[in-house]
């Protein structure tokens, strides 16, 4: 009996020792913690893999959560780099008085107004700002009023803290926190919203340019009589109106491995990922 007791005791000791070892090994590596916008996430995830391949002693942990989470985590020290796809608000600066946010622009993203492919194919290929506003405020509830079939509009919003929503609402309503009483459903990440638009045959929503595909079509925006398609060219020359900067935020000027990583994303191989793999627009 006593022998068994001892045995159990040694097992517990062994496990504790193992856990201890693992944590020491992890502490030895140079780590970078990144969190924030799902719009910036794919770029950072991809470049972090490439960066870690070159620098085997570096560990980069990338989490999502939205732009707000990016700022918040940098502010309270839970992350070294915040991925933020909008301007930092005055309220956020006020919330973290000790923090000195430094912003590096790593790319440009356009937010497309997307519709289900069935709607796009049946004729709704362009929308004006006014039409989008009326759809989101509930004044237009049927696709037939904007040149589509006689179907109810299924209007999809995003969680209020999402950077994509801020950019979209700033353009449509002139207020990034605008309430949208015409909304039928609230979604979260770009992936989730893409799925919901694709599964419906009468949906309208907002998505980062990179998430447009054959099931989820971005409509052209009519601005001052000009039809502006959501294309890389139009975003690069500044014509497309619903666009924003993708930024990495640090607390104070970055140094050490954090600064090395940001420089890597701003360098040629990083910018290649931004432009070629995810359809964003590079800054260099």
């Amino acid at each position: 009996m006593i022998k068994k007791n001892r045995f159990a005791f040694y097992i517990v000791l062994l496990i504790t020792a193992l856990l201890f070892d693992v944590s020491i090994v992890m502490a030895g590596a140079r780590t970078v913690r990144v969190a924030g916008s799902t719009t910036v996430l794919p770029v950072v995830a991809k470049t972090s893999e490439m960066f870690m391949a070159i620098n085997p002693d570096v560990r980069i942990m990338v989490n999502s959560g939205g732009s707000g989470v990016g700022v918040k985590f940098v502010g309270n020290g839970l992350a070294d780099i915040g991925m933020v796809s909008r301007e930092i608000t005055d309220e956020e600066i006020k919330n973290f008085p000790e923090s000195d946010f430094k912003v590096s622009v790593v790319g440009i993203d356009a937010v497309a107004c997307v519709v289900s492919s069935e709607i796009y194919d049946s004729g709704v290929k362009t929308l004006t700002k006014e039409q989008i506003r009326k759809i989101y405020s509930g004044e237009i509830e049927n696709w037939k009023y904007v040149g589509g079939p006689d179907k109810k509009i299924f209007c999809i919003d995003k969680e209020r803290h999402r950077g994509t929503r801020h950019v979209f609402m700033e353009y449509v309503f002139g207020n990034k926190n605008a309430r949208a009483p015409g909304v039928d459903l609230v979604s979260g990440s770009n992936n989730e919203e893409q799925t919901k638009v694709a599964l419906s045959d009468k949906a309208i929503g907002m998505l980062s340019f990179a998430w447009i595909n054959s099931d989820v079509k971005g409509v052209d925006i009519i601005e001052d009589g000009n039809i502006i398609a959501p294309t890389v060219v139009n975003i690069k020359n500044g014509l497309y109106p619903i666009a924003r900067n993708l930024t990495l935020v640090t607390n104070g000027v970055a140094d050490g491995v954090v600064s090395e990583f940001i420089d890597y994303i701003l360098g040629p191989s990083g910018q290649k990922v931004v432009a070629e793999e995810y359809g964003y627009v590079s800054v260099k």
Binding site: I2, N5, F9, V69, N76, L185, V186, S187, E192, L199
Partner: protein, 289 residues
């Protein structure tokens, strides 16, 4: 096996686990109360009765609380008849070998993570619900209720089955001796005797349904509003857990938004713990008979 010496290492380990477990619950409760106090100072009772939730302006939790109750009730409506039926067949009619297989399968179901149910729900259930009821979209209270119903089915089934099995053999024998047939024995003798245990099963699974987050979040649509009319289950809405799941990381630790979310969590904690507690008391009492 282990000999629990008064001061032996095993006893120390077990005793410390005991105190750690207890203190975790106390700490959580204390944390919820202290972190939600500011919102109760700010909004007072309006926090529980208000219907509008706009971050930075007003926090009203009623839509979330109401929809949580509604979705849970729906889930019970689906899961209770199915679960109880399965339990009765398994316990009273199936031979021992098949009974164990059914039970094993049910317990396997209980182990599938919520997110898997949620993803299946998005792809299969929302589209089906939309087609069958001809809705504008399949993300609605009904879908969430159905999904939760499937998720709590194993709990209802296994716990009710346990309750039925604990009914002493003599009950059945005496009922048979009175000339009742097999079905009548179950309905008039076994079921009433197991009623308390079955009620316990319902309460336990209710608290599980209330606390389920990710699967509900993926199919409920996440719009903070009380359905109109209030029994309309074909509309998007928001439960407490889906609200927390969507906004908690955004609000993390700062300001009234955080306090309000923790306030919601406190409401859920009290509802869910209350259910589980009552359920436990009933089941434990039943087993001691």
């Amino acid at each position: 096996m282990f000999q629990l010496n008064r001061f032996g290492p095993a006893r120390i380990i077990f005793a410390s686990s005991f105190f750690i477990s207890i203190s975790i619950i106390v700490v959580i409760f204390f944390f919820l109360i202290t972190n939600s106090l500011p919102i109760f100072y700010l909004e007072g009772w309006d926090f529980l009765t208000g219907t509008h939730w706009y971050v930075g302006e007003v926090y009203g939790a009623l839509p979330m609380i109401y929809v949580t109750v509604l979705v849970t009730l729906l889930a019970l409506c689906f899961a209770f008849p199915l679960g109880l039926g399965t339990a009765i067949i398994a316990s009273e009619f199936l031979p021992e070998r098949y009974r164990l297989i059914v039970k094993m399968v049910m317990e396997l179901l209980a182990g599938i993570p919520g997110v898997v149910y949620g993803l299946l729900g998005i792809v299969l259930l929302t589209t089906t619900v939309q087609r069958v009821f001809n809705l504008i979209d399949g993300n609605c209270i009904l879908t969430a209720g159905l999904l939760l119903g499937v998720m709590i089915l194993p709990t209802i089934m296994t716990v009710s089955e346990d309750a039925l099995r604990t009914v002493p053999k003599e009950y059945r024998e005496q009922a048979l001796a009175l000339g009742l047939n097999h079905s009548e024995v179950v309905l008039t003798a076994v079921l009433p005797a197991a009623a308390k245990g079955i009620l316990g099963a319902v309460l336990l699974s209710t608290s599980r349904a209330m606390g389920e987050t990710i699967s509900v979040m993926l199919v409920i649509g996440s719009l903070d509003r009380i359905p109109s009319p209030f029994f309309n289950i074909f509309t998007t809405a928001q439960t407490i857990t889906s609200k927390l799941g969507r906004e908690a990381s955004e609000a993390l630790g700062v300001g009234y938004h955080w306090n309000a979310l923790i306030g919601l969590a406190l409401v859920l904690f009290i509802m869910s713990m209350g259910m589980a507690f009552i359920g436990d008391i009933i089941v434990v009492k039943e087993k001691r008979v």
